[in-house]
């Protein structure tokens, strides 16, 4: 046997302070009417830092700082100068990438190989991409005079803390808006390090404000009458609540919400790559991915073979210490999320689906869930309809392309889909019919700053990334 010795990334590269304030008007400040909460390492349950909780007065202060910066500095600033600040930020992110990756893995629980090779490089790329738009907005295809909106309220989730921050802040700033961003309460640390990066870049005070807190802070932010734009990534349930909250206000709203993507494997698929795609589709980031390929649809004629390969491959997945460079699956982000995954998995078993996980030892402390597949799942099962947001795959079969499309689309969501086949014309036929914002054919879970991302139906509206992503932050 070839046992890999532990290969931990050093955490000494990160300097976590015992406590953090709110980042308002270019400075870290104590909350005036909020309290504080703790951010923990989900892999060990160790407390990482004490985080300020912003109350409504703090939110108000941040919105006013953003308004002031919008009117006095950032709004009037020529696009080419805004661009230079964004390029600067992109560069600092590249320079401090190791630090950001380690901190992300500590706070979120994701494997270091993902934060290092996926999250942080994409964050830098995103700022680099949108920096270039700042002085070219009139060429973006939204007419000759696209205007910024003003102050953007942005609320982001815990699954890709820094990447979601980049998806929100980079286009907002490029388009000339200022922002108040609320990171998720379980993963605030990289956003606060980003605040330091803004200071290091000499970004004018008030252009970026970070208010930490939980749901109440988020509510105060999106409901604040002083914001012109609301952007949210998170659950469909909260997304609907936000849509109701901003109804009638004329705040521009974009939502990037849940999903229950079908990953469809045909009998002529390049099977080894398909298996990689299935694994990447559901086990990447512990399955904490809105576009995860959580419903595997296999053509019945090859279902046994594909499942056999999949199980063999799953047995190779290494679950454990997120900072170990060889870890494939890290910790579940929170006790609450773990409880949700367990509850739905138990429902899967109770409803008659067959559960399987490879032999895999889980650490004693922290929040863990073994990679799991359910076979014998039908469209009626809860695990085929509800977003589990964990490393749990529901396997269904189909007989014909039309049946695959019908099953894939039979959900209120419509974020992403996967197709695996060697037949080009079938890919295009399927892609036309799948009601999903992103269709990955013979690949899965690929992201790029130039590529628009976002959903159909209850997966939300608006796009992030690419030229399309600018529209969310412009009056066109």
């Amino acid at each position: 046997m070839f046992e890999y010795a532990p290969a931990p990334e050093s955490r000494s590269v990160v300097d976590i302070k015992p406590s953090y304030g709110l980042f308002v008007d270019g400075k870290f400040v104590d909350p005036t009417d909020g309290g504080s909460f703790k951010s923990i390492n989900p892999a060990s349950e160790e407390v990482l830092a004490e985080i300020a909780e912003a109350g409504s007065q703090d939110v108000d202060r941040a919105v006013r700082a953003a308004r002031q910066a919008y009117e006095k500095v950032w709004g009037p600033m020529p696009g080419r100068d805004r661009a230079k600040y964004l390029y600067r930020i992109a560069r600092i992110i590249q320079e401090r990438s190791r630090e950001l990756a380690v901190l992300e893995s500590l706070d979120n629980g994701k494997p270091i190989k993902e934060s290092r090779d996926v999250d942080v490089p994409l964050v830098a790329a995103h700022f680099f991409y949108y920096a270039g738009w700042a002085d070219k907005l009139e060429h973006a295809g939204f007419g000759p005079n696209p205007r910024s909106l003003g102050v953007a309220a942005q609320v982001i989730p815990w699954n890709f803390p820094l990447l979601m921050l980049a998806w929100k802040i980079a286009p907002a700033l490029a388009a000339g808006n200022t922002v108040v961003l609320k990171p998720a309460e379980t993963t605030p640390l990289t956003a606060l390090l980003f605040a330091e990066i803004c200071q290091q870049a000499d970004l004018p005070a008030g252009v970026v404000n970070i208010v930490t807190g939980a749901g109440e802070t988020g509510r105060a932010l999106v409901e604040h009458p002083g914001v012109d734009k609301v952007a949210f990534t998170g659950s469909t349930e909260v997304g609907k609540a936000i849509a109701r909250a901003v109804a009638g206000t004329r705040k521009k709203l974009t939502l990037e919400l849940g999903g229950k993507a079908a990953n469809i494997v045909f009998d002529d698929a390049p099977v080894d790559q398909a298996v990689e795609g299935i694994v990447n589709g559901i086990f990447f980031n512990q399955g904490h991915v809105c576009c995860a390929g959580s419903r595997l649809l296999i053509q019945e004629s090859v279902a046994d073979r594909v499942l056999e390969s999949l199980k063999r491959r799953m047995a190779q997945l290494r679950v454990g210490d997120p900072l170990d460079k060889n870890t494939d699956i890290g910790a579940i982000n929170s006790a609450a999320q773990l409880a949700r995954i367990r509850e739905l998995s138990e429902a899967g078993s109770a409803e008659g689906a067959e559960r399987w996980s490879p032999p895999c030892e889980l650490p004693d402390r922290g929040f863990w869930f073994a990679p799991t597949i359910f076979t014998g799942v039908t469209q009626a099962h809860r695990i085929a309809r509800e977003e589990i947001f964990g490393p749990v795959l529901s396997v269904l079969t189909f007989r014909t392309p039309a049946e695959a499309v019908e099953k894939a689309n039979n959900t209120p969501y419509g974020l992403s889909a996967g197709i695996w086949t060697d037949k080009g014309s079938r890919i295009l036929w399927m892609a036309d019919r799948l009601r999903a914002g992103v269709v990955w054919a013979n690949t899965f879970n690929k992201f790029d700053p130039t590529s628009p991302f976002g959903g159909y139906k209850e997966s939300g509206y608006g796009r992030e990334g690419g030229r399309h992503g600018l529209e969310a932050y412009l009056n066109v």
């Binding site: 070839f2 990689e276 004629s301 190779q316 460079k325 013979n442």
Partner: protein, 319 residues
Amino acid sequence: MTATATSARSDLSELGRSETALRTFLHGLPGVDQVGAEQRAAQLGTRSIKTTAKAQAIDLAIRMVDLTTLEGADTPGKVRALAAKALRPDPADPSCPHVGAVCVYPAMVPHVAEVLRGSGVHLASVATAFPSGQAPLEIKLADTRAAVAAGADEIDMVINRGAFLAGRYKEVYDEIVATKEACGDAHLKVILETGELATYDNVRRASWLAMLAGGDFIKTSTGKVPVAATPPVTLVMLEAVRDFRAATGRQVGVKPAGGIKTTKDAIKYLVMVNETVGPDWLDPDWFRFGASSLLNDLLMQRTKLTTGVYAGPDYFTLD
């Protein structure tokens, strides 16, 4: 999809009888998506193998080296020196294992055989008009028999790439069958020369063709064309031997050759073996490296692990 396990076992042995059956079977194998295969190989290359795992990997890699010289300028003196190194790669450290085999041209086999006799180090000879294979079949078979007679217990043959690319699969198949017969008890490694096959689909088909015809090992390259072994090519071949065993019950070895120069490279291949086909193949009987300069890098890294000090090339033999 490939044929399913047990039910297909008997059918597979019949395939070689007809060009049509072979073609239908080989073209029915699942395709390989280039980008996906390369990404998987690259991903496996990011594994971090440290300390005890690294020590284990280095010793295993040394045991898997087919220490090779295939030059027009090879002489009895040169190959004897190489054979001596194969036996004792690090004269300063008796705990260092010997390599898997020495690989030379047929004319050099008798000289190497003298040195290796009774050592447990295998003696491999290239044959079949290596590296091009462009000779009449009788000559290629005579080449093989001569090498075996001179003491080689492993034969590295080349397939007829021209025939393969022209779609004359049966011709390729028959040549392998004939060479295997000429080998007698010697193990047959079939060199696909993947750099000339151009696509991973072809690599997969050629792998299956070689296995169906009776090859004991499939090997990437001669080392004589610009593109030699690469991680994704090796990955596709590993998947082929894995699927072949599942379908037939027979295990076939894999030998990437050419271009593997550093310990880091070698360890990436071992990780790939470990995570693609598993421990059954983590053995010199089932996985080899066709290499020459790799050995010294393995030895330098081995010394670094034991002494804690970076080694220098002057301290290792250049044979």
